[in-house]
């Protein structure tokens, strides 16, 4: 049987990849002992024999056996050799390397040999992605990182405008606060996850507050500010190097001593450990550190003072895989949480043995695997439930989303925040000049908000709350009515549920976006299901401007509403 052209190119590229020693060792060295089986949350949650790390790695290893192994070249059937022949074979492999593994490396630390199955998976992802065989969301994000320079396609104008808006928000609490942009000669340049400016600015506001209170010499770059890197997830080292270089060039231009990475697991791993190699940028003339390390320094140096009574509820911590198993960051978040919260409860197992949040490896951008991702999250859900915590801290934006999804699905109903949010809340501010977060300008009070939701309780809750804040609120009980009212009323903001009978929220959103009369109205998704992430990553139409999780946190709702009404993005 003749191989398809794509399959031929993948096989040729595979042979080239096996010239790397660690790749060959991880392919050749497995004894099929099965000791890693129970380390994988996919297998533990489903019991499916095809979900063990070894079985999944064998779907790539079969190529090694057939093309590289001495005996396998003659008798591949004897030791599991196999081939890739058709484009369908490539699709099947895609399902395994993208849809059945988050490259969390829990199997690696539990393998008696130390076989790095994540290395094998990433290599295979790279081969497939080069042929365009990858989840649509991953390809979209890669494109945006190449073309726009950040994973959420945020324009320079929107980014700077959001920072300016956030500066005003923080100034409500800290009147002399400023966000220094492109300030040369500072000690620190702070690079972030685009999710922070696009959807979840709470962690950014927390970081601003901490920098300000610590009296830090810091700046943010106007370009090269994205610390995330889909080169890591897609196995594309060129993209990995490109993203690293964008950030490194800015740090060099600004002449900083240190690049501080906001709380992002893969962002930190990529920027600190992988990108300098991919970009050929070693040695860099500045240090790279996690914001967690920066905060620890501030506490140790007495630059910020923490009052744990400000966070009285029980808090547990989820170790992001990329920090604990690929970057050695495990103690810093515990140091901070124990000083910021009254009741810190360890989650077991933890540190290098922690289970993945199920959103790693770029899984949040792969809507086609969302159902499986949530199904295999049972292990993590059980871990969280056992802590009896009232909130979960983590140090990664992917984890924050992944955990939020599983918390909803398994009805644990507690919030997830980045560590810096707890630290910022616990910071003691002299002469506190806090203003209530709900204070709004008169301009905003005249704005009209359309609430589209099929649940009468939610509609009543949202409309009552928003009306109390001074907004004019109109409501719609289903998608069709929502579309009609959007066209008729032309609201300033739409809040949209996803799961509705008849026309779903996804359909309504797509129709709204395609309609030139209402396509520019900012939309905030309000949902308790994970399907909406498809809208964020697949980008058939411009993604929603905001989203908030159910159950609704009114502080987050007001922050999002103000941001979207004032800036429109």
């Amino acid at each position: 049987m003749q191989r398809s052209e794509k399959a031929q190119r993948v096989v040729d590229a595979f042979k080239n990849a096996t010239k790397m020693r660690q790749v060959t060792l991880s392919l050749a060295g497995c004894a099929h002992c099965g000791m890693c089986n129970e380390s994988c949350h996919y297998y533990l949650s489903t019991g499916d024999p095809k979900m063990t790390p070894t079985y999944k790695a064998d779907q790539i290893r079969k190529l090694y056996k057939k093309h590289n192994d001495w005996l396998g070249r003659i008798a591949p059937w004897w030791n599991g050799g196999g081939d890739l022949q058709t484009d369908e074979d490539l699709e099947e492999l895609k399902d395994i390397v993208y849809g059945s593994c988050t490259m969390c490396r829990r199997c690696t630390v539990n393998c008696p040999f130390g076989i790095d199955k994540a290395l094998i998976m990433r290599m295979a992802r790279g081969l497939l992605t080069a042929e365009g065989v990858a989840p649509e969301g991953v390809l979209h994000v890669m494109k945006d990182q190449w073309e726009i320079g950040n994973q959420m396609g945020v324009t320079d104008e929107d980014y700077l405008e959001t920072l300016e808006w956030l500066e005003e928000e923080v100034a409500d609490e800290l009147p002399d606060f400023k966000v220094p942009i492109d300030k040369e000669g500072c000690e620190i340049v702070y690079v972030i996850n685009p999710r922070e400016v696009k959807y979840a600015p709470q962690s950014l506001m927390a970081a601003f507050k901490i920098f300000h209170l610590a009296g830090a010499s810091w700046t943010m770059p106007s370009k090269g500010w994205d610390n995330t890197n889909f080169g890591l997830f897609s196995g594309d080292n060129k993209l990995g190097g490109h993203m690293g270089k964008l950030a490194f060039d800015q740090a060099l231009k600004l002449g900083v001593k240190k690049m501080v990475i906001s709380e992002c697991g893969h962002g930190y791993r990529s920027t600190k450990w992988e990108s300098p190699n991919w970009a050929g940028a070693n040695p860099l003339p500045f240090e790279i550190e996690s914001f967690l390390e920066t905060m620890v320094d501030y506490v140790n140096q007495g630059k910020i003072v923490l009052d744990p009574t400000k966070n009285p509820g029980r808090v547990t911590y989820h170790d992001p895989c990329n920090l604990s198993r690929s970057a050695g960051i495990t103690e810093e978040p515990r140091f901070l949480l124990k000083r910021s919260c009254m009741d810190f409860q360890e989650m077991y197992p933890n540190r290098q043995d922690s289970f993945c949040c199920t959103g790693g490896g770029g899984a949040m951008s792969m809507a086609e695997y969302a159902k499986r991702r949530i199904e295999v999250a049972r292990v993590k859900a059980d871990q969280i439930r056992a802590t009896d915590a009232k909130s979960v801290a983590t140090a990664c934006h992917n984890c924050e989303d992944g955990l939020a999804d599983l918390i909803k699905k398994y009805e644990i109903n507690i919030p997830v925040h980045n560590v810096c949010v707890y630290v910022a809340d616990a910071c003691v501010i002299e002469d506190e000049q806090k203003k209530a977060m709900t204070i709004m300008s008169e301009d905003l009070k005249a704005k009209k908000i359309l609430v589209i939701d099929d649940e009468p309780d939610v509609v009543k809750y949202l409309s009552t709350f928003l009306t109390d804040q001074g907004f004019e609120v109109i409501t719609a009980a289903d998608g069709s009515e929502g579309l009609a009212k959007a066209r008729q009323e032309k609201p300033d903001l739409i809040t949209l549920d996803i799961t509705m009978p008849g026309k779903s929220g996804v359909d309504v959103f797509t129709e709204l976006r395609k309609d030139p009369d209402v396509g520019d109205i900012p939309v905030c998704i309000v949902t308790g299901v994970v399907d909406f992430r498809k809208l964020m990553y697949y980008r058939e139409v411009p993604p929603p401007e905001g989203y908030i999780e159910k159950p609704i946190d009114t502080d987050v709702l007001m922050l999002t509403a103000r941001r979207l009404l004032e800036m429109g993005h």
Binding site: Y43, P112, F113, Y348, P349
Partner: protein, 234 residues
């Protein structure tokens, strides 16, 4: 006397020519072949490009490499062994028995009198017997567990069968009382030495490389040595 109560040793000079050929020439030849094959494999591995860490280190490479190798003897350090002490014991004993089996195969022809000491015979027979039982147990687990079956290929079963049979033949051959058992033991040893470089049993060579690279990589990033924490709250 052996574990079965046999008391009469074979006269070494009475052994058939095939057995003597196996004991004195063939299995040395097989050993030479294995060494040659592995030398070539190791040379190939050294020729490959290693993935290097060019960034400044956060941890201690040397300490981490030592730790990485020592994990083999620290079952409490990995969840996979910590939760399955029995399997770790099986693994450890089976591999020690293999090493003893190889040592026996090369010691017996040159020091058969020494190998007839009762304590040596008892010790080796007990070791080989337990190893054969472990082999059977591992084979049953591989056959009985759907997850293990899914990752098993003919080579996996064959290697396990081969080593289990070799241990069983060793149990009978060690007392040097029956020529057929000696023939089986040395015949299997010879085949084993020739087959090993082509089989999954080669994992023991790769282990040294893998643990080195894993230790170095994780040591660079301060992931190794792992922080020691219990599985459950006290």
């Amino acid at each position: 006397m052996d574990l079965f109560g046999n008391t009469v040793f074979l006269e070494w000079s009475q052994l058939g020519s095939t057995t003597r050929l196996l004991m004195n020439q063939l299995h040395y030849g097989a050993l030479a072949f294995m060494v040659l094959a592995y030398s070539f494999r190791v040379w190939q591995l050294f020729k490959m490009t290693p993935i290097k860490e060019g960034t400044p280190a956060r941890g201690d490479h040397k300490k981490a490499i030592r730790y990485s190798y020592m994990l083999l003897a620290m079952p409490w350090e990995m969840e996979s062994t910590r939760k399955h002490w029995g399997r770790w014991f099986e693994f450890a004993f089976f591999h020690v028995a293999m090493a003893l089996g190889i040592a026996t195969a090369f010691t017996m022809p040159i020091a058969h009198e020494l190998m007839r000491h009762q304590i040596v015979v008892y010790g080796l027979q007990a070791t080989f017997a337990l190893a054969a039982l472990i082999g059977v147990s591992r084979l049953l687990r591989r056959l009985g567990s759907p997850a293990m079956r899914a990752i098993s290929h003919p080579d996996d079963y064959f290697c396990l069968l081969l080593l289990t049979a070799w241990m069983a033949s060793g149990l009978l051959a060690v007392p040097q009382m029956h020529e057929p058992s000696l023939l089986a033991f040395f015949g299997l040893a010879t085949f084993f030495l020739v087959y090993v470089p082509f089989s999954k049993i080669s994992h023991y060579i790769y282990w040294f490389f893998l643990r080195y690279h894993t230790g170095k990589h994780f040591g660079h990033r301060a992931v190794y040595p792992k922080k020691s924490v219990p599985d459950t709250a006290a």
